[in-house]
């Protein structure tokens, strides 16, 4: 009896391991496929999408950089995304903490309003935002684009920050105030360090959103020197033609840095999140 049971258990755990491993490999596959496809010759790729490259064509990367002006686009994407995330983290930390910890008049209304922001289909905002910016001649401005990304990230960030802040023990705050700390100290010396885990979650999610954002960058960055990576990636598609392998190389250029940053930090991020989970 016991033997059969432990045998079953072993088989079960083997099965679980195999299934999850298969799933994990399947999650990694796109990146791998993108990388080896980026080294194939154009006609080779069109004939067989899945085969490995016969020869390594690194020149696809040169074509990609030239065709898509990927170097300029890369710098722009970094500038815009980093600015957006920095602004967002700072303001969402302040707002989320207030929502999570204090009661004030009109709080529910204000909080609900922010949450509603999560439900807006972005394309419905294209024309209104464009008209708004036109009045103040603020299109073609990287900083404004970063602010827009920060604004779009706000609802989700405030949602996450608020739920987290409400779980911070009150004693910590009391202790700080008894020690003579003012509000500023309480926020930046007590809440901020404790909130690191959730701020790292917000960082990843909002950075990915900003890094991959397409329609607003398309509409608002009307000068070649201002384009971001997702726009640069479209230049491989002509009206009646597509250059797939340089596009793959371009996709790799756009994706790999994020993968590498994630690879370096993922343990830290996980540890951070485990240290203080997202709580309802």
């Amino acid at each position: 009896m016991g033997k059969i049971e432990s045998g079953l258990k072993k088989f079960g755990s083997l099965l679980v391991n195999v299934i999850i491993s298969a799933f994990s490999l399947f999650c990694l596959f796109p990146v791998v496929w993108m990388l080896y496809s980026s080294l194939k010759e154009e006609s080779e790729f069109k004939r067989n999408l899945l085969s490995l490259p016969i020869q390594l064509h690194f020149e696809n990367y040169l074509t990609a950089v030239k065709t898509g002006k990927m170097d300029t686009a890369f710098v722009n994407s970094v500038l815009v995304s980093v600015t957006a995330v920095a602004v967002l983290l700072f303001i969402a930390f302040l707002a989320g903490t207030i929502f999570g910890r204090y009661v004030f008049k009109g709080k529910t209304l204000l909080y609900t309003m922010f949450l509603l922001g999560m439900l807006i289909p972005v394309h419905s905002l294209l024309v209104p935002v464009f008209i708004e910016l036109k009045i103040f001649s603020l299109n073609n401005n990287r900083f404004v684009l970063a602010l827009i990304y920060a604004a779009f990230g706000l609802p989700k960030a405030i949602f996450l920050m608020t739920t987290y802040a409400s779980t911070i023990p009150r004693e910590l705050e009391e202790a700080a105030i008894i020690d003579g700390g003012n509000t500023h100290d309480v926020f930046f010396q007590i809440f901020l360090p404790i909130s690191k885990p959730i701020l790292s979650t917000i960082t990843i999610l909002s950075f990915l959103d900003a890094w991959n954002e397409f329609p607003f960058s398309l509409i608002l960055m009307g000068k070649p020197e201002l384009k971001t990576l997702p726009i640069a990636l479209t230049y491989f598609t002509g009206q009646y033609s597509v250059d797939y392998t340089p596009m793959m190389a371009g996709l790799a250029i756009a994706t790999l840095p994020v993968v590498i940053v994630y690879f370096i930090f993922h343990k830290k991020i996980m540890e951070g999140m485990v240290a203080g989970a997202v709580k309802g």
């Binding site: 755990s13 679980v16 391991n17 491993s21 799933f23 994990s24 490999l25 999650c27 796109p30 990146v31 993108m34 999408l49 899945l50 303001i91 969402a92 302040l94 707002a95 903490t97 207030i98 204090y102 009661v103 204000l110 309003m113 509603l116 922001g117 999560m118 439900l119 807006i120 289909p121 394309h123 419905s124 905002l125 024309v127 209104p128 708004e132 604004a151 706000l154 989700k156 405030i158 739920t163 009391e174 509000t183 979650t201 990915l208 991959n212 990636l233 994706t255 994020v258 993968v259 994630y262 690879f263 993922h266 343990k267 996980m270 485990v274 203080g276 989970a277 997202v278 709580k279 309802g280």
Partner: protein
Amino acid sequence: MEQSKALVPKRKILFIYMFPSVALFLIFNLIPVVMAIYYSFFNWSGGKTMKFIGITNYIRLLQDGVFGKAIWNNLILAFFCVVFQVGIAFVISSLLCTKMLKCKAFHQFAIFMPVILAPVVVGFLWKIIYNADYGLLNFFLRAIGQEKLIQAWLDNPDIVMKAITIPIVWQWIGMYVVMLVSAMKNISGEIIESAVLDGANGIQRTLYITWPLVLDTVKVSIVLAVSGCMKLFEHIYIITGGGPGNASMVGAMYAYKTSFIKQKFGYGSTISVGIMLTSLTMVMLVNIIFGKGKKRYG
């Protein structure tokens, strides 16, 4: 919420701290939404000529079969995302918290990878997977001798929506795994140990201890999943463009097409307002359902 007076910061400081968020939200979310609502009462093909037509667009919206179909697809999508995205994420997370699974760090890294990818990569890849002639899926079916099942997945109106759900579910599982694993790791070891001593097996522990304790995180995940599904655009745009016919049309895609292809900016805004109202209802439903759940589990 009870608070001692000493702990409440001065109103002025709260206002200053809150101001940047409110200002940014006002300028780039709220005012544009109000503008979109304003347009929704007009017959407007762009430019200076606008014609006020009252609620005509809304009457049309209620009778519009394509909009109904699109919202229905959104709801199906949201349903599958909640059940499978959050569901599979919950199972994987539970497994990641047991000794049964090996190479946990690798799995956590790998499963999060699709979250990082731009929708264009995901869309492009899955188009190839579903390709009727040389796609991975049909290749696999042939290999296991199930030729009967082979078909043009994205060309069959009855299947296309299910086919499109899979990449969307797949891409975001990693995010919920991360959120749930961190919530589960936070359950104190003592509770688990006492349960083990009481003779609870793995499944019982998951159902009666882990589930109730991570329920709030599950609720957050569901809200994120539902709101994400209701405004989903890019995957559909890349994989099918809403086709064949309108078989895989979703709300945001229909709003986009109406405004930017058909040049009906007024009606396009009406569709967007319709999507927002539907999403709002959905999220409120989630809150009601899980609000009750919270009481039950104490």
